[in-house]
Subunit: 335 residues, 2 copies
């Protein structure tokens, strides 16, 4: 049997099952980041992301600066989803010999732009030759032990909400795959920027953690549908998403219209929006809304946590109920 026959989830599951945890691991493999005991009252958060040329990016379609930015952004987003403060990064680079030193310098510019903005120190790394560009960043952060945002603590009756608007990154990708599409420059630039330079929601994650009112959280790296299912399943609950409540970026609607596809599909299954998906008790809604206004954070309620036996559903504007399925990208098996 080959990896393409089993898929990414089973590969990760096979690692998880072998882990025995000999040290003080508070949150193991499976959440956005792992959490281990740190100084008194704090957890250390550990996360890593591997980007491979030809799989995660095409060298001719992304600038080295954006690539550096994005490599750091995806890790920052994982720390954000745990409510943490990012601190230290280890950067490993596999680089072709014919890469220009100016290109490497641009890569650093993009990486440090985000690292500096979030006070992250790059404390080590590894540089080696490689036939294709390979980037791995491991990022460490910290979070108060009693405030950490986990994915598995959602409760029945909790509302499901998301920061920002969805579908921007997917629209950017659609545009990259259909470059001939006739669209105003402002729209092109906006969705391409959302695809190449996502904003990690570190501030939002910190605000949610400190509020003490968020029961579960994840970043939307693999698509809304997959992330909602992960929160619900790991919390041993069911979930309902209301289609017409999903905040879809206006530019995404316009790209979808030109491509004659459903914008809801881009918003639900597109992934890489790096917004925060989170749950909280409806009794806390007024308080959370007032904090959000103070902190200049926008969020939208798009669903509800229900008992596990009710399953996972999506309800459209006509009240028609369909099963909620994970349609995000699955490595080794394609879509």
């Amino acid at each position: 049997m080959h990896l393409r026959d089993v898929g990414e989830v089973q590969v990760i599951e096979s690692i998880r099952q072998r882990s025995r945890y000999l040290n003080d691991v508070v949150i193991p493999i499976g959440d956005d980041a792992a959490a281990v005991s740190w100084k008194k009252g704090w957890l250390q958060l550990l996360t890593t992301d591997l980007l491979v040329e030809g799989v995660h990016f095409l060298r001719e379609r992304i600038s080295m600066k954006d690539l550096g930015y994005k490599s750091m952004a995806v890790n920052l987003s994982d720390i954000a989803a745990m409510g943490g403060i990012p601190r230290y990064a280890l950067v490993s680079l596999g680089l072709p010999e014919d890469l220009k030193t100016s290109e490497l310098s641009e890569f650093y510019n993009g990486m440090y732009e985000l690292a500096d903005a979030y006070c992250v120190d790059i404390v080590g790394g590894d540089v080696t030759t490689s036939p294709i560009i390979v980037i791995n960043i491991a990022l460490m952060g910290e979070v108060e032990s009693n405030l950490v945002l986990r994915q598995d603590q959602a409760r029945v009756g909790d509302l499901v909400a998301v920061t920002g608007e969805l579908g921007g990154s997917a629209a950017g990708l659609a545009l990259l795959l259909n470059p001939q599409l006739c669209l105003p420059l402002e729209i092109r630039d906006r969705v391409l920027a959302l695809h190449d330079r996502p904003h990690p929601r570190v501030h939002q994650g910190r605000v949610f953690a400190r509020s003490g009112m968020v029961t579960a959280a994840k970043d939307i790296s693999d698509g809304l549908s997959k992330e909602v299912l992960t929160i619900a399943r790991s919390s041993h609950q069911g979930a309902v998403i209301w289609t017409d409540h999903i905040p879809i970026l206006d530019e995404t609607r316009q790209v979808a219209a030109r491509l004659n596809i459903d914008p809801v599909n881009l918003a639900i299954n597109g992934g890489e929006d790096y917004e925060l998906l989170f749950t909280f008790s409806p009794t806390n809604l007024p308080h959370l809304q007032s904090i959000a206004i103070q902190e200049n954070i926008s969020f939208t309620i798009l669903g509800e946590i229900v008992p596990e036996q009710f399953g996972y559903h999506i309800i459209d504007s006509k009240g028609i109920r369909q099963p909620l399925k994970a349609k995000g990208y699955n490595h080794f098996q394609g879509e």
Copy 2:
């Protein structure tokens, strides 16, 4: 200008120069691992290593089990060189779709063999498709703040010593490159094992750290000559190595004889022995020797730290002095 024109050292230097250190970084980029503030009285050690198919290993020449073992070993060795206790690992894998699930399983077996032996928890990772096998492990450890083994604290008059015997990994590589070589099976197996399954010197590093007598330490990943130069230069001292004191593995001498090459060359420039190179005051020699006997550790004195203005030399058995040059492998520029 391209990366092949500038070399690995300059690439790493360009990262180091950009680092400002916004958090509490005690030992920055450049040592075997970085060290940051951890719980009271302890430092956290952070290190990472990237292995790329075709650069660091050939898929047809190493078993997946040995590859898993080696990926963990090189990181454990970095923690060992700081005198630390390894704790948590993040594992990123880029894998071809046609890899067999049984091969991946073997990779885990090798990786967990070492992780279990040293009580390391694999707390997270990333798995993705890739046209070539790419492995990145980031490893976290801890060490008492006042006992950490740095590379930059060697003092004039210190003796330079090394654990074990050198040249085994280089002899293994020479055998892989010359498989037709006629040699007894015991010798073949021994040097191939030393190449594919190096023993990280975690126990030795802990003993040296706890002794409080070791002034500087590094693991020999890039060859003895390069590592001696790194200790001396970063300590702002000079160094002398006595050729006929270098402990050369007997099997390495036999492989060298068959290949008609100098075994000293394999021992000095070969690299990947993952023994510990360390310095200490000669007044502490009796005490360190008695500890080593108790702890079942063997080491050999092979040089001395001298004032910086004396430079870096190697003295052969006839008393002839030559400049000590870093001949280890340089990524982007080959040998």
